[in-house]
């Protein structure tokens, strides 16, 4: 039986992906900060599920949690580094502490998770590394600077690692969701286009991961739009996005 370890598994995409893997007969290890929620999920799933509490920004804490889960469930076959935070904030309120807090979870969280399991995967010559990026990583979105930047980082890192690790039997999959119902998006103060339900997102992600896809992108409408927006020249992008993006604060766009 294969083992999947998932960070950010207390709610949203992470929790739903854990349930979906478990439903498909995988052993699942859940990692997050909130002990009570993890316990609830693991008890609901029953045998073949375990959890460990850790903050992904804390390298030692996360490494210890992964080691604990591996000793309990077996070596990690698939790491889904999913934990992420972010909020809408105009660059007028830009500060180091706030930006670094997002980077420490969204970027360092992925780094620490991969660093903990990659040596084992290379030794065994098999495994999958995956992480949740976002369509926000395709271009800098207004009001979401640090979040967009952190997701661009994840996309580029995984793309590069995918090429390096392919000959060694380790697959790398980048997940680019659009808006998915979760705690993170529950704070968004705007109408989210093409919003995807959490369980549907989990099914799409797990299916893509099991197929060994290089990228799992959904919903298709949002992906088409954002991939097109990538090629729009800056002079046009800057003007159109400031008016058209749902993430632009109403007052600032005036």
């Amino acid at each position: 039986m294969s083992v999947a370890i998932i960070t950010g598994a207390s709610s949203g995409i992470g929790a739903a992906v854990a349930v979906e893997f478990h439903r498909r007969g995988w052993k699942v290890g859940l990692i997050a900060r909130r002990d009570d929620l993890l316990k609830e999920h693991v008890e609901a799933m029953g045998e073949g599920a375990a959890y460990a509490t850790a903050d992904v920004a804390d390298e030692k804490g996360l490494t210890d949690a992964i080691l604990k889960l591996e000793s309990e469930l077996g070596p990690c076959d698939l790491m889904f580094a999913n934990a992420g935070i972010g909020d809408g904030r105009s660059a007028r309120h830009f500060t180091s502490a706030n930006t670094l807090k997002i980077m420490n979870v969204n970027c360092a969280g992925v780094i620490h998770a991969f660093a903990a399991v990659l040596p084992g995967m290379l030794k065994r010559g098999t495994g999958t590394l995956s992480a949740t990026s976002s369509v926000a990583g395709f271009r800098g979105l207004p009001n979401f600077g640090p979040y967009s930047a952190s997701k661009s980082y994840v996309t580029s890192l995984l793309e590069s690692m995918r090429i390096d690790l392919r000959p060694h039997g380790v697959g790398v999959t980048t997940v680019h969701p659009g808006f998915v119902v979760s705690e993170l998006t529950s704070r968004n103060a705007f109408d989210m286009p093409f919003l995807v339900q959490t369980d549907k997102a989990a099914r799409i992600i797990v299916k893509g991961l099991l197929k060994g896809k290089s990228e799992v992108n959904f919903p298709w409408q949002m992906i088409c739009l954002m991939k097109f927006v990538r090629w729009v020249p800056n002079w046009l992008y800057d003007r159109v996005i400031a008016i058209a993006s749902p993430t632009t604060p109403k007052k600032e766009a005036e």
Partner: protein, 136 residues
């Protein structure tokens, strides 16, 4: 130089005119300590320049306030004002409308719309960036 000042006219038309480099420098603003109480019971103090919003001030501390729009539309950044309410900018019509729309109690302020005007401000943060959101 472009003939007839075309470049300048185009820039003015598109609203791209940059600020003049010879603009007079504004005088240095005074700074005031603002105390933030966090939901976990911890407290931190940040020195804020006059006019800085509470969101900006808290963003330089260990537990930034969670925001949704920073233009006073969503109500995510609401805080309880414990002390020094008179040293914050007065809530404008936009903030009052948002508070009524999203159900923010009168005693709370939207941190992104509250500028610091004096010393002695102490607020309790309700939503911390990266933590579980608390329903109003």
């Amino acid at each position: 130089m472009t003939p007839f000042g075309i470049r300048k006219r185009l820039k003015a038309l598109l609203g791209l005119e940059g600020g003049s480099s010879s603009a007079p420098q504004p005088p240095a603003l005074p700074s005031y300590d603002v105390v933030f109480d966090c939901p976990d019971g911890s407290t931190y103090t940040v020195s804020a320049k006059e006019g800085d919003s509470l969101v900006y001030a808290a963003g330089r501390g260990p537990q930034p306030i969670s925001t949704g729009c920073t233009d006073g539309t969503c109500g995510t950044c609401r805080v309880d004002v414990l002390e020094g309410a008179e040293f914050l900018t007065v809530a404008d019509g936009h903030e009052l409308k948002t508070k009524a729309d999203v159900g923010v109690p009168d005693a709370q302020r939207l941190a992104c719309q509250s500028g610091v005007l004096g010393a002695g401000v102490r607020v309790k943060i309700t939503n911390i960036l990266g933590e579980e959101p608390i329903d109003p």
